[in-house]
């Protein structure tokens, strides 16, 4: 008993100790709209869902225009319908994309009158499905974990993330509640108002993954969120104490220092566990999984027989009339959100930025549907970008880089299109955090150049793969043609032989015929002779 308690206190001490990651910068949080509770937007008449997966690969639609769909039904693999209604169209439409591209989108004409009915149906169902089995047609499905996307910004499917562990044991489940990027406050708002639901979700996630340890990491700049989460966690841990049947581990809360980008995967692992993940390793190799706090909340929704088809979005920026955090159904247009939150007024004099101020990008219109990736919409005053000047080799960029890269050198090779050198300098490990940009006194667009170089790197890899594939196909075709040619030659040879043997057979029959003729002649002669001798008689 004494041993156990001393172990526990040492554990607590460990979680209380502050670790630091290398690089990063201290930034003013500038988070607004946290005084007002999260508002849930009314369901728009139309939702538009891009048929794309998290990495923008196309998805195959399971429905067609005219189909009636119910909320929760699969529209495509991993894409559940966010509302009950009718598919009015599948069209090529603009999406939230840094290049302003279009994609195939499913358009749903929604029926808000069917909302209570859909919820009632869902509550009647028992059990939660933990697979991505698709149900085509008009059938509805049970609340499905496969519909949950990571809500931290990447929208990686939760189930795929868990499955990436394979048969390795999950030693530490880290709930990422750092939310380190300035201006974004959707997770903080969620923790302030929905801590109990979040902890409910975390407990289910712990059960689902059989995690041996679970740490919730929150930046120390969010005191109210910490307080609410601590209360909910303590209450949950108490019930675990009371319930001897449960094998669920207790949740730990760790307050981490406020420093950008502590919410990125590797810095987060470093500050919560003091573990350095080397470049050739993956967190799962160490039995570690990081799940965003809003994703954990979505898990809770699924286990409450509800739907994981909405998210909280931060509306902010220096031209936002009413900065706030709103819950929106996936597929809602930015225009509808801004109108409903009374932020449409200054739109003509502003730029619209999707994603955080450092990690996001500008879009050129507002009739675009939001997805699980859209955690923030910034309405900013237009401003001219600073003109870059020559590098003064101050190495501030390298000092700030959390990935321990050499941005100055990388930039030199990237702008010269020497992608091979960039690869050697570990370009692939750049997390595009933007720290180097922020500290650069010469205003050199480092991150944008790295994004460009990473695209080129990807294209080159793909090109090499395609060349290898073409080579294989070419060579197998050559072999096949050679084989065909040989078979043809063989056939020809056989036919020749057959013709030749036919000829000799003909010669043979000729022999028989002539022998017969000779025999006949002889017989004839003999008969003649006989007749002649008879005559003589």
């Amino acid at each position: 008993m004494k041993l156990l308690s001393s172990l526990l206190t040492s554990l607590e001490k460990q979680t209380a100790r502050q670790y630091r990651f290398r690089g990063g910068i201290q930034l003013p949080g500038n988070k607004k709209g946290l005084e007002t509770p999260i508002k849930t937007l009314s369901l728009p008449d139309e939702l538009k869902l891009p048929l794309l997966d998290y990495s923008h690969r196309p998805l195959q639609a399971l429905v067609k225009p005219g189909d009636a769909v119910s909320r929760g039904q699969w529209l495509a693999k991993g894409l559940a319908s966010p509302a009950t209604g009718t598919i009015s169209d599948i069209q090529h439409a603009p999406i939230i994309h840094p290049g302003g591209l279009n994609a195939n989108c499913i358009v749903i004409r929604t029926r808000s009158d069917a909302e209570p009915e859909a919820q009632a149906e869902q509550e009647k169902k028992t059990g939660v499905a933990a697979n991505s089995k698709l149900t085509a047609g008009t059938q509805t499905v049970t609340p499905n974990i496969a519909s949950i996307k990571g809500l931290g910004g990447a929208a990686f499917p939760l189930l795929d993330k868990i499955n990436a562990l394979g048969n390795r044991e999950l030693t530490t489940l880290i709930i990422n509640a750092a939310e380190c990027e300035p201006q974004i406050a959707c997770d903080e708002a969620l923790m302030q108002s929905h801590a109990i639901e979040i902890v409910f979700g975390i407990n289910h996630l712990v059960a689902l993954t059989a995690a041996k340890r679970c740490i919730v990491a929150i930046e120390d700049s969010k005191p109210l969120a910490i307080e609410k989460m601590l209360q909910a966690i303590e209450a949950s841990n108490l019930t675990k104490d009371a319930d001897t049947n449960t094998s669920l581990v207790k949740i730990e809360l760790k307050t981490i220092g406020t420093r950008y980008p502590t919410g990125a995967e590797l810095p987060l692992i470093k500050v919560t566990t003091n573990l350095d993940i080397t470049r050739n390793m993956h967190p799962t190799d160490h039995g570690i999984l990081c799940v965003n706090v809003a994703t954990a909340h979505a898990v809770g929704l699924i286990y409450k027989q509800q739907f994981a088809d909405s998210r909280v979005i931060t509306i902010a920026g220096n031209n936002a009339a009413k900065p706030c955090n709103v819950r929106v159904r996936f597929g809602t247009s930015i225009e509808h959100i801004l109108a409903q939150t009374e932020n449409l007024a200054a739109i003509d004099q502003s730029t619209i930025h999707c994603g955080g101020p450092l990690s996001g990008f500008e879009v050129s219109q507002i009739d675009l549907p939001v997805t699980a990736q859209t955690h923030c919409i910034l309405i900013n005053q237009r401003q001219k970008p600073a003109t870059p000047v020559a590098c003064i080799r101050c190495s501030a960029c390298a000092d700030s880089c959390p990935a321990e890269l050499l941005p100055q050198q990388l930039h030199w090779y990237a702008q010269a299109n020497d992608i091979e050198r960039c690869t050697e300098l570990n370009l692939a490990h750049c997390i595009e955090c933007g720290c180097c940009d922020l500290v650069c006194p010469s205003a050199i667009p480092l991150t944008a150049t790295f994004r460009y170089a990473k695209s080129q790197q990807l294209a080159l890899t793909k090109q090499a793969q395609q060349a290898a594939q073409a080579e294989v196909r070419f060579e197998s075709r050559e072999k096949r043609l050679a084989k065909q040619e040989e078979a043809r030659a063989q056939r020809l040879l056989k036919r020749k032989e057959a013709v030749a043997s036919n000829k000799s057979a003909k010669q043979n029959t000729d022999g028989i015929q002539s022998a017969l003729a000779r025999a006949r002649e002889q017989a004839h002669n003999r008969a003649q002779a006989r007749r002649n001798s008879k005559k003589d008689l």
Binding site: L52, S55, H56, R57, P58, I95, H97, P98, G99, L101, A103, Q415, P445, A448, T449, R451, Y452, K454, S455, Q456, L458, A459, K462, Q466, A467, A468, Q469, A470, E471, R473, F474, E475, S476, R477, E478
Partner: protein
């Protein structure tokens, strides 16, 4: 005494010659293998740098045959139009030669493209299938044919055989999956 000594020297010299001879012949045999081996390795390396479009514009039936010709017959390295300047630079670096300009007698460099069949016009004659060096066209007799864009190298070999001119070459579409960030100015 002297004669035995001389005999000894003679014998040992003879043995030495024999030994050296044996050694030399031993060394000579595998060295032939090594040279042949080095050649196939070099052919592989050259082939690796070629774009694998398999278009035969170089005058050889495909990339590997051209690679063989480069290594074995010292054919100039600037005859591959799809590879363009990039491929020539890489080949020159590998073979330690200067970097010649693309010999435009063999064709000009074009941006990557893929073939597309105007399906309404296709009469299903299967002639394009027979021409495609990488089996990128699917279809059956008298039925509409389609190009699998991921497999197509844009070699243009399917275009001349088509009796109704229904195959076009088009630049690869920019989609969210293959979009690339632009280079900052």
């Amino acid at each position: 005494m002297l004669t035995t000594n001389t005999a000894l020297i003679l014998i040992s010299a003879f043995v030495l010659v024999l030994l050296v001879g044996a050694l030399l012949s031993r060394m000579a045999r595998p060295s032939g293998d090594v040279a042949a081996n080095r050649k196939t390795v070099l052919i592989d390396q050259v082939n690796e740098l070629l774009p694998q479009t398999q278009c035969a514009q170089c005058g050889y039936p495909g990339c590997r045959p051209y690679a063989e010709a480069i290594v074995e017959e010292h054919i100039p390295i600037n005859r591959c139009p799809p590879g363009g300047k990039n491929t020539i630079t890489q080949l020159a670096a590998l073979l330690g030669t200067d970097v010649p300009a693309l010999d435009e007698q063999f064709g000009i460099f074009k941006a990557p493209q893929v073939a597309r069949i105007l399906e309404a016009d296709c009469i299903g004659c299967t002639l394009c299938i027979k021409a495609c060096p990488v089996d990128a066209i699917v279809g059956a007799n008298k039925l509409m044919h389609t190009v699998m864009e991921d497999e197509c190298t844009g070699c243009e070999l399917c275009i001349p055989p088509c009796p109704v001119d229904c195959i076009i070459l088009a630049p690869i579409d920019t989609t969210p999956a293959n979009w690339a960030w632009p280079q900052p100015q």
